[in-house]
Amino acid sequence: MSIALETEHLDKRFGGIIAANDVSLKVAKGARHALIGPNGAGKTTLVNLLTGVERPTAGRIRLDGRDITELKPHERVRLGIVRTFQINQLFADLTPLETVGVAISERLGTGRDWWRLAGSKKGVMEEVMELIERFHLADVISERTAILPYGKQRLLEIALAFACRPRVLLLDEPAAGVPEAERHEILATVASLPKDVTVLLIEHDMDLVFSFADRISVLVNGALLTEGAPAAIARDQNVRAVYLGEGADA
C-alpha cells in the first residue's frame, strides 16, 4: 500500500519544551487513521507541523513521496493537505456563501481575479451550492458567520475543508462541542468521502475513534507510543495505562 503522508524523525522544541519528539508517522493512502493521546500530548503541534503553521526543529515531512517540509501553509493546501480546526477558525464578517466561495474560487485558481465580480463564474457557483446544500447551510446562506449557531459554524468549518478538495484531510477534533445528534451527521459526512481521500483524525472521544478509524497511532508526551489496528490498541497495556492513569481524560 502506498503512503500518502509521512513524517521522518520530526522534532519540535519551544525553548526547553519538547512538543514533538522524533515522530515518524506513516499514513497509508485512503486510510482512516486516528491519532489519539492525552491532553498536552502534542497532537495539535503535530497538525501545525503537517500544515506548515509551525516549522519543525528537525525532520522531514513527505506528501506522496514529495518533500514538503519547506512549503508554506497555502502551498501545502494547493497540494491537497487540508485541515479543520479544533476551535472554529472562520471569517466572522463573511456569510457562509462567501466563505465557501472564497475557498472554491481559490482552489480553481480564480481567487486573484480583480476584473470581474465575485459570483460571476458559473462553475464556482455550482460547486458552492452543492456544498452549501450538502452541509445544511442553505437556510443561513446570507447570515454573517459570527451570528450563526455553534452547530452551523461547526458544519461550515468542515464544509470549508471539503471545499478545498483534500487529498489528505486532517480533522482536529471535528466533533468538539457538537451535541451527540449532530456528531454523527458530521462523522457520516466525513465517512462519505471518496475512498482515495486519506483522513487523519485527531480525537479525544474514544467511541468516535473506534467507530471510525481503521488504524490508530497513540501520541504521548510528544512521541509516538504505539500504532496498530483498533482492536490491538484497545488491548494494549501501555495505552490503557496512559489513559487510565490520566483518569477521566479519555
Partner: protein, 338 residues
C-alpha cells in the same frame, strides 16, 4: 434538516448583492457632480475635499479591506505629488491626465518596494514602520534640494491645459471638475476591485489570516497587491494636489498629513469606500466653519468629535440613527394605512 432549495441565479445574485448600486449611492454621485454647476463659488474647497477623499480612499483600501493600519500613507501622497511636479517642470509629461497616471504608477512601484515591511508584525509595528518610511522620504526630499527645491518645495509649477484645452483657472473650476472626475473613476475601480473574487479574498485575509492560508490563499501575496494599489491611489491624490495648486512641498510627506487622513477615514467609517470621502467632507467643512469661529482652537473640536466617535463606537451611533429611522417609519406607517 434544512429543506431550503437553492437556485443558481438566486445564489449568484446573493453573492453579488454587495456590488449592486444602491439609490443612496446614485444620489451621492449625482449631488457631487451637480456641485460643479450649483456651487461654483466653493470649487476651491471642494477640490481639496475630492483630493483628500481620494487619499482617504487609498487608506480605506488597506485598512478597511485588508486590516493594514498605516500612519505613513503620506509617503506615497508626497511621492506622487513630487513626481507630478517634476514631470511638469522638466516637461517630461506635459499632459496632466497622463502625468497623473505616471505619478500614480511610480507611487505604486514605491508601494511594492516597501510592502514587505508591512507584511509581518502587529499593528504597532506597522504604525511605526509606515511612519518611518514617510519620515525617510521627507528627509530624502529635503536632502536632494537641487531636484526637489528642499524646504522651499517646488514652486510655480506650470501645468499645461488639460487635454490641451482646459486651462487651470484661478477660481478652480477646471481643477474641481478634473479632481472630481478622477475621484469618481478611481472610486469605480476600487468598487470593482473590492467586489471581485480578489476583494472577497482580502476580506477573508482581514477576517482570519490563519484560516485564509488554510484554504490556500497566499496571505502575503494579497497584502502586497492591495498595498501596492493603495500606494498608487495615494500617489494619484498627491499628484492631483500638485497639479491643482501648482505647488509641492515637504509638508506633503508630513506626519500630520498621514494622521489627518486616518482621522478623516475614522470620521467617515472604514470598509465601505464612502467613508474616506464623507470623512474628508466633514473634516474640511468643520475646519472651515470652526476656523472662522475659533481660528486657533479648531483642532480642539475635531479632536473632541474623534474621541466621541471612537469611544462611543460607530456601531452604537449607527444603531441610534437606525432606531430613529424606525421610529419615523413606524410613526408614518399607521397614517399610510389609514
Amino acid at each position: 434538516m434544512s429543506t431550503v432549495r437553492l437556485a443558481l441565479p438566486d445564489v449568484a445574485r446573493l453573492i453579488m448583492r454587495r456590488a449592486r448600486w444602491r439609490p443612496a449611492e446614485i444620489l451621492f454621485w449625482t449631488a457631487a457632480f451637480a456641485t460643479i454647476f450649483l456651487l461654483p463659488g466653493r470649487h476651491l474647497i471642494l477640490t481639496e475635499v475630492a483630493i483628500l477623499g481620494l487619499f482617504a480612499l487609498s487608506l480605506d483600501l488597506i485598512l478597511g479591506y485588508a486590516g493594514i493600519i498605516s500612519l505613513g500613507q503620506a509617503a506615497f501622497f508626497g511621492f506622487g505629488a513630487y513626481c507630478a511636479g517634476l514631470l511638469a517642470n522638466h516637461q517630461l509629461v506635459t499632459e496632466p491626465a497622463l502625468a497623473l497616471l505616471v505619478a500614480g504608477l511610480a507611487s505604486a512601484a514605491l508601494g511594492l518596494l516597501t510592502s514587505f515591511l508591512v507584511l509581518r508584525g502587529s499593528d504597532l509595528t506597522r504604525i511605526m514602520v509606515t511612519l518611518g518610511v514617510a519620515l525617510v522620504l521627507r528627509e530624502l526630499a529635503n536632502r536632494f534640494d537641487n531636484l526637489t527645491g528642499g524646504a522651499d518645495g517646488l514652486q510655480g509649477i506650470e501645468i499645461a491645459p488639460l487635454f490641451g484645452r482646459f486651462r487651470f483657472d484661478i477660481f478652480g473650476h477646471t481643477a474641481y471638475a478634473y479632481s472630481l472626475a478622477v475621484l469618481f473613476i478611481f472610486f469605480l475601480l476600487a468598487r470593482h476591485i473590492v467586489n471581485s473574487p480578489f476583494g472577497l479574498s482580502l476580506r477573508a485575509v482581514k477576517g482570519n489570516a490563519l484560516r485564509a492560508s488554510a484554504v490556500g490563499i497566499s496571505v502575503n501575496g494579497r497584502l502586497v497587491a492591495i498595498y501596492t494599489v493603495a500606494a498608487g491611489y495615494a500617489g494619484v491624490a498627491g499628484a492631483l494636489l500638485t497639479q491643482t495648486t501648482q505647488f509641492s512641498s515637504l509638508d506633503m510627506f508630513s506626519f500630520e498629513r498621514s494622521a489627518d487622513v486616518l482621522l478623516m477615514l475614522i470620521l467617515g467609517g472604514t470598509g465601505y469606500l464612502y467613508g474616506g470621502i464623507v470623512g474628508a467632507l466633514i473634516f474640511k467643512l468643520m475646519q472651515d466653519w470652526l476656523a472662522s469661529m475659533t481660528p486657533q482652537y479648531w483642532q480642539f473640536w475635531i479632536g473632541l468629535v474623534l474621541v466621541v466617535i471612537v469611544v462611543l463606537g460607530r456601531e452604537r451611533v449607527e444603531r441610534w440613527f437606525a432606531a430613529i429611522r424606525r421610529r419615523i417609519l413606524l410613526w408614518r406607517a399607521p397614517k399610510r394605512a389609514a
